[in-house]
């Protein structure tokens, strides 16, 4: 067996005088790596053009449908159907992008070896999660902007005028996105493979939308369903968003006659912390077939 003819021709060091000192210098800061992950994750997310189009279209299609089906005001409170569904669909969009899409995406990353490759890099593990959550945040902000624009232009949605109301929106949104993303990361380990992920993760998400006041007003559900839904974050997220878009007039429509914002913060916060604990303790960087 002869060796290949001319190793120097393809010698990666030949044009590389800096090869000798090697890595020695200090590594990039974790923050820099987290930002690089966020940029890459966001870029990749938007490169999957069909997924982007449908992710953006889904809440808009629902808004158009529901507005057509249930036209007019709800129960003489002056609250429009557009207001009601804008709030619900923002909650559902956050959950869809953070929980469902992220969970399915990470299950795929695990299956095709992306995660295994990443964990072999000098990457702080938290940087991966931060990058994922940041990409969800960017995606959902744009989703909300598009949905609100359509609701304002075509369904006469009036945006809140008070700064304090927008502050409420911001904290419900950030807490909701974080909790949903962390849960998406945690749930990604549930499917046995990337292929089964869509089926496994979609079921709980669809059920939650029906019982959390996205599609059907929560006041029309039997008590036991309301109690069950109250355990999960989507119901509280939607409630928080209703406080923003329906205002005081809509509070009467709530089961307790109040938006219970304190409870919203508490439940979403609890899911965030619980989800983080689940991630730290159960997250797998390798697929099941890979030991």
């Amino acid at each position: 067996m002869t060796t290949a003819s001319d190793p120097a021709a393809s010698d990666p060091a030949a044009s590389d005088p800096a090869a000798v000192p090697r890595a020695a210098a200090s590594l990039p800061s974790p923050l820099r790596i987290a930002l690089a992950r966020a940029a890459v994750e966001t870029k990749v997310l938007f490169r999957e053009r069909d997924a982007v189009v449908f992710t953006f279209a889904l809440p808009i299609v629902f808004l158009v449908l529901f507005a057509a089906i249930f036209s007019g005001s709800a129960e003489g409170t002056g609250v429009t159907v557009a207001q009601l569904y804008t709030a619900g669909l923002i909650g559902s969009g956050v959950m869809g992008t953070g929980f469902q899409n992220l969970g399915i995406g990470i299950a795929g990353d695990r299956d095709d070896g992306t995660l295994k490759r990443l964990v072999g890099l000098p990457m702080p593990r938290a940087a991966y999660f931060i990058g994922k959550i940041a990409s969800v945040l960017v995606m959902t902000v744009l989703q909300v902007a598009v949905l609100l624009a359509i609701a304002v232009l075509f369904y006469d949605l009036e945006l809140p005028s008070q700064v304090s109301t927008w502050l409420t929106f911001v904290w419900v949104f950030v807490l909701g996105v974080s909790a949903a993303s962390v849960l998406g990361i945690a749930v990604s380990g549930l499917p046995r493979s990337g292929k089964s992920a869509t089926a496994v993760i979609s079921l709980p998400f669809v059920v939650l939308q029906f019982v959390s006041g996205v599609f059907i007003p929560i006041t029309e559900l039997p008590d036991w369903l309301v109690n069950a839904a109250s355990v999960f974050p989507l119901k509280w997220m939607c409630q928080g968003f209703r406080s923003v878009f329906l205002g005081d007039a809509g509070a009467a429509l709530e089961l307790t006659g109040s938006y219970e914002l304190g409870k919203v913060a508490l439940v979403l916060g609890a899911w965030l912390v619980g989800g983080l604990v689940l991630c730290v303790t159960t997250f797998r960087w390798k697929g099941r077939h890979d030991g």
Binding site: S10, P12, A13, G113, K286
Partner: protein
């Protein structure tokens, strides 16, 4: 001088299967070291323990002066890993991917130069998922070396390559070795091990059953030669004499003459067969059909 890799008494068990059963190994700085063995012999498990991917049950393992079971970022930055199967279908282009991976390291190679060196310049703007298998593998290698690793792991790097792509790949690896990178290579291709490796280890049933220079492994250089010609063949310690004798007998040209020593493959198969479990024991299935040794 300290070894690049030092392994003593390594064991790892999966349920009923003893994947690694007291394995010892030393890899020196700057050498190309090939690990050979049938599927299920424990070589992938061993390499994954060295890479910090798997926890061991017992044994001492030191890789670049550290225990790989407790990897740090600094340690990871000195190691490059080219996994056996990487089929992540990223939507990033080759150039974007290399640039991104460069951000993890203190002193990375220049992505554009690296693309030139691995022959990816023409594909720089292509998305990873659009690449052919061979191009894909080049990206894997480029990502493995972009941080200027002191130690590079290559797990069956050329599986599925056509002969020409394999030869070009070997040149790339020889270039890295020339640069002083320590390389640990697992492969099923004995020709590949023979071309690239300074030393090889044959792993069977979770242990190293032979190691050394591929040219002398298992007494290969001193083994009896086989002289074959049209009308017969003979195994001998003195092939030159046999040929001279034949030459006299045929008065010149000997019809169909070949003189061979055992190939690395012959030696390998003999070593593996010697390690076969007795009938009924089916701990491992050899990847290569085992024939009776000469």
């Amino acid at each position: 001088m300290e070894h690049a890799i030092r392994v003593r008494g390594l064991t790892k068990r999966y349920g009923e299967v003893q994947a690694v059963a007291g394995l010892d190994l030393d890899v020196e700085h700057g050498e190309v070291f090939a690990v050979l063995g049938p599927n299920g012999a424990g070589k992938s498990t061993t390499v994954e323990i060295l890479e910090g991917y798997r926890q061991r049950d017992a044994g001492e393992v030191t890789v670049l002066g550290r225990d790989p079971a407790r990897p740090t970022r600094e340690w990871r930055s000195r190691i490059g890993i080219v996994l056996q199967s990487a089929d992540d279908r990223a939507e990033l282009t080759v150039r974007e991917t290399l640039r991104h991976f460069a951000t993890y390291y203190a002193n990375p190679r220049d992505p554009d130069e690296l693309m030139e060196q691995v022959g990816l310049t023409d594909s720089a703007g292509k998305r990873i998922r659009q690449l052919s298998g061979g191009q894909r593998r080049r990206v894997d290698v480029a990502l493995g070396v972009i941080g200027r690793p002191e130690l590079l792991f290559l797990d069956e790097p050329t599986t599925g390559f056509d002969p020409e792509a394999r030869r070009r790949f070997w040149e790339l690896i020889e270039g890295l070795a020339h640069d002083g990178t320590t390389i640990v290579l697992t492969t099923h291709y004995l020709e590949e091990a023979e071309t690239l490796a300074d030393r090889v280890a044959v792993v069977a049933r979770g242990r190293v059953v032979a190691q050394g220079d591929p040219a002398t492994l298992g007494g290969r250089a001193t083994a009896r030669a086989r002289v074959a010609w049209s009308d017969g063949e003979i195994e001998t310690d003195t092939p030159t004499e046999v040929v001279l004798e034949l030459s006299r007998r045929y008065d010149g040209e000997i019809p169909g003459l070949t003189v061979t020593r055992p190939t690395l493959e012959d030696v390998y198969l003999r070593l593996i067969e010697a390690e076969e479990p007795p009938a009924g024991g089916t701990l491992e299935t050899p990847a290569v059909p085992v024939e009776s040794a000469p």
